[in-house]
Amino acid sequence: MHRNSTSLALALLAPSLVLFLALTIYPLARVFALSLFATDYGFEDALFVGTENYVDLVQHRFFRTAAWNTLVFAILATLSEVGIGLVLALLVSGRIPGGRFVVPALLMPYVLSTMVVTAIWRAWFHYDFGYLNNVLRATGLPAVEWLFDPDIAMLSLVLVDAWQTAPLAFLIILAGLQAVPDELYEAASVDGAGAVPVFLHITLPLLTPYLFLCALLRSVDAFKIFDKVYALTGGGPGQATETLSMYVYRLGFRFFDVGGASAAAIIMVVISGLLALVYASRLLDRKE
């Protein structure tokens, strides 16, 4: 339907195109242009410095720490979330009494606002009166400095992220498990296969695309992490939990090094663009 419809298509797409142009294309072009200048705001009085901002960043200890922290956080968060999601999905997938109440209950942490989640955990991590340390003390274990010990703060962030988003991993993996045909399990049990071989040779291979998709989704999100770092640790103690988003925020909106912050932002866009490519090629594979 609608032959000769180029003008109609344009009219229908126009509002979206205008918004994309003003809110994404132009800002991306501008942030790239700004990354080539030494400037504290715009292009007036800006000094063209070419790739100097990038060179400075790569040489700067703080930037490298932020990049390393982001990588560590993304890997730990993705692994723990996919792992927890898989265990939960395997537990819930068989029919259990009351199962249809369990799934929505498990999804609750995921639908809460990130700032609400952060508020809860900020209180739970409190050294003197926080719930976690109260539980530790009650069981005779030593209390932990969840947010102020540089070796632990990052793990605390992973814990909060996993608590909030493992339910999403669980939901995707559960859908994958339910797509495995029952006949396969029946055939395996007729052949007398044990639970572990069945899992390794039937369930896991069929589940791999879901696990992969899940890991990709989670790593892309983990890579952007900002809210939790901002409100839980502020990037500290010292530089222990400074991530790339936090670094761009600080450089651009606290120290007004707009050129440097733009260069760091461009580096982030390139990395997430590469992740997007992997994601897109996976989606297209699934389509075919």
């Binding site: 229908l12 979206s16 715009g42 009351g98 639908v111 700032m115 508020a119 739970w124 719930y131 109260n134």
Partner: protein, 271 residues
Amino acid sequence: MRKRIARAAAVYAVTAILLVPIVWMLTTSVRPPLEYVSDSISLIPSLVTLEHYRELIRGDVLGKAWNSLVVAVGTMALALAAGFPAAYALVRIRFPRKLDLAFLMFVLLVKLTPPISLAIPLYQVLRSLGLLDTLLGLIIVYQVYALPFAIWMLLGFVRDVPVEYEEAAMIDGASLLRRLGSIVLPLMAPGLIATSIFVAILSWNEFAYALLFIQSPDKFTLPTFIATLITEDETFWGKLSAVGLLASLPILVMVGAVQKGLTRGFSGGLK
């Protein structure tokens, strides 16, 4: 059989443990401060008080909730008004195959771009439009994420409307607007509602742009209001829990309303 019971017990135990933080929030919101600032691990308050809620209302929490609501409704309206025609065009009009695909790739790329990486130019755009520190400005910048998301989700729902109905109406001489109004939109109503709710939740929960583009406390949305309470470094946990609960209730209600659409939404996005 015994195995099944053991497994059910394990599922209940894990679910219960994972929900303790939410239960804690519920009970802390009605607990006197002296009771939660202690070394007790009991979750049951010995005394129920509404003082935290009263204090919040004195601190104008309803004003922040109103701001959040205005932004959520505005974001939703704009995303649907711009996103629906785009989704319709992408599904119904035969584009050169590559253009169609390129657009979808673009939508995906935006979805995956870190919000902070666009923050500096968006700040400058809003400033030059005089929209910095306004709720309207927030509604506009939220389109960065709301619009691609809405288009992505609506594509699946437009596809579900049989093209034959529209062709029949076309033969009878119905115009595009007529067909949209009397066939497509009514048939898509559940999908439109689900998409609106998802966009509203996205906006209701957003933090980074609200932090960067709103400076006056009377224009704060709930997440930025909560952040100021968190970072004040005092044990306002009763207040925090109470506002956390207030901020979560509308979402829980909305998610409950579209529970069936939830999985549909995800598969619509993945298909």
